[in-house]
Symmetry: C2
Subunit: 273 residues, 2 copies
């Protein structure tokens, strides 16, 4: 059996009882490190928080390892119970679908244990989930690579009065350019896009495209560390949010569409004065 277990958004205590049972029953436990394990105790002192709770070792699996060792993980899962832990919900990101597809193709039983992810926990800011249009991703711009396909999507959502959830880029274990040139593996330090960077990139694209999809006056909600004890939510114009110190990652941003009175009442609590 391959258990794919969502860990939720906060820390080790956000696993469900069902998820913990699966981990306890498993002979091998992997945790994906594609995205961010910031608050799960995966710091310099290793996996202490998760391993302490589970009472067994946890293997951190980055994308490379999952790709290279997928056969091994699947072969283990065909003989005994293996748990593959994922931050948020197992299907919040595309990255785990491939492992599930391969397991199913091999006839290995797969059991998914759900949890909260940004895609539903974002409801905490008070904007109703069924009033969101397509979600967009904002990638880090570089000197030569400034993809802006999010622009049309935001424009469409706003024309329809819908809110837009902007997921901000995370770069974990990116090979450094230098290391690629030298042919050995060396990694850039992890990089998490801030709300400030996202807003600056958004405004830069609006200035170029001039489609009036949004402006510096457009109402937004910035959320830092969603689902964590020290979560911060601030509502205001893009300009207002540039003045807010959101602190440590992860950040995400909502561009607000048309609002209903009950949504307005909730946003009022988070308004930047």
């Amino acid at each position: 059996m391959l258990y794919i277990v969502g860990l939720g958004l906060g820390d080790e205590k956000d696993i469900t009882l069902r998820g913990l049972e699966a981990v306890k029953a498993s002979t091998k436990v992997y945790v994906e490190a594609y995205t961010s394990l910031l608050s799960f105790g995966l710091t310099s002192d290793g996996l202490s928080k998760l391993e302490k709770l589970y009472g067994k070792p946890v293997i951190v699996a980055d994308r490379e390892m999952v790709e290279e060792r997928a056969d091994q993980i699947l072969s283990e899962a065909s003989e005994s119970d293996v748990a593959f832990l994922v931050v948020g919900d197992p299907f919040g990101a595309t990255t785990h679908t491939d492992l599930v597809v391969r397991a199913k193709q091999l006839g290995i039983d797969v059991k998914v244990i759900h949890n909260a992810s940004v895609m539903n926990a974002i409801g905490v800011c008070g904007l109703q989930l069924y009033r969101y249009g397509e979600t967009v991703s904002i990638p880090f711009f570089t000197e030569t690579w400034r993809p802006d396909s999010f622009y049309e999507k935001i424009q469409r959502n706003r024309e329809l009065g819908l809110h837009t959830l902007c997921l901000l880029d995370i770069r974990v274990k990116e090979p450094s350019l230098e290391s690629l040139c030298r042919g050995k593996k060396c990694y850039e330090p992890p990089k998490y896009m801030t709300i400030h960077t996202a807003i600056n990139q958004l405004l830069e694209v609006e200035a170029l495209r001039k489609g009036s999809a949004y402006s510096e006056k457009s109402k937004c909600v910035g959320i830092a560390r969603l689902g964590n004890e020290d979560q911060l939510i601030a509502a205001g114009s893009m300009t207002d949010l540039l003045d807010v110190d959101f602190g440590a990652p992860l950040h995400c941003l909502v561009i607000v569409g048309e609002t209903h009175p009950v949504e307005e009442e909730m946003l009022e609590f988070y308004k930047v004065k």
Copy 2:
């Protein structure tokens, strides 16, 4: 402190460790019964599954009670810790926002403990969450009331190649017409829309509106009892799905937009032969 705790989708074991801690620390525990508590043991023998796990009594709060006794719940929360439990995630539905707003207005600390909801767990069918457009609700049609505002939304999503999540109507504790006439409270038995009813209503609206938003050949995914042990997922045309016995509620339906190869691979596992 008012804890708003998501219970997840399956049964009592889908609460998180953090959620369980909040319940154990609370002097009063309410569970909302607006939507559906089918699998949480809230049957004829009462709250056995939840109460057994929590080691304390749980008060079932229907919408009427929350509206009538909100002041009491909030006054309790201003003096001690009160847990308000919600199926799925606290902000999956609009119904709890009002309680949160009132608590915050009274200066009562509110802590939200997230969990999975249909809005993210639907990812299990293999269609990527960021490729969904606006979510629609399909209400039960009556002889005289056949609202079809979902039609334009589905049409727009399909024009954009996006998937559409259709939430199917749930009628719990609806006053019966007879009881309204007689001025005393009597309720209809709970009613949950099936995938079959939803598809028949959708096709009826398409036949009237003739906008080619979808047809009986449109690819869909039907999901019954999402997140439960006996969850059933079936992919096929609307006609195909009319032949599937989805069994007990809750049901939901996805109308598929344009698909990527990895989405196709996952749908293949659920295809109706």
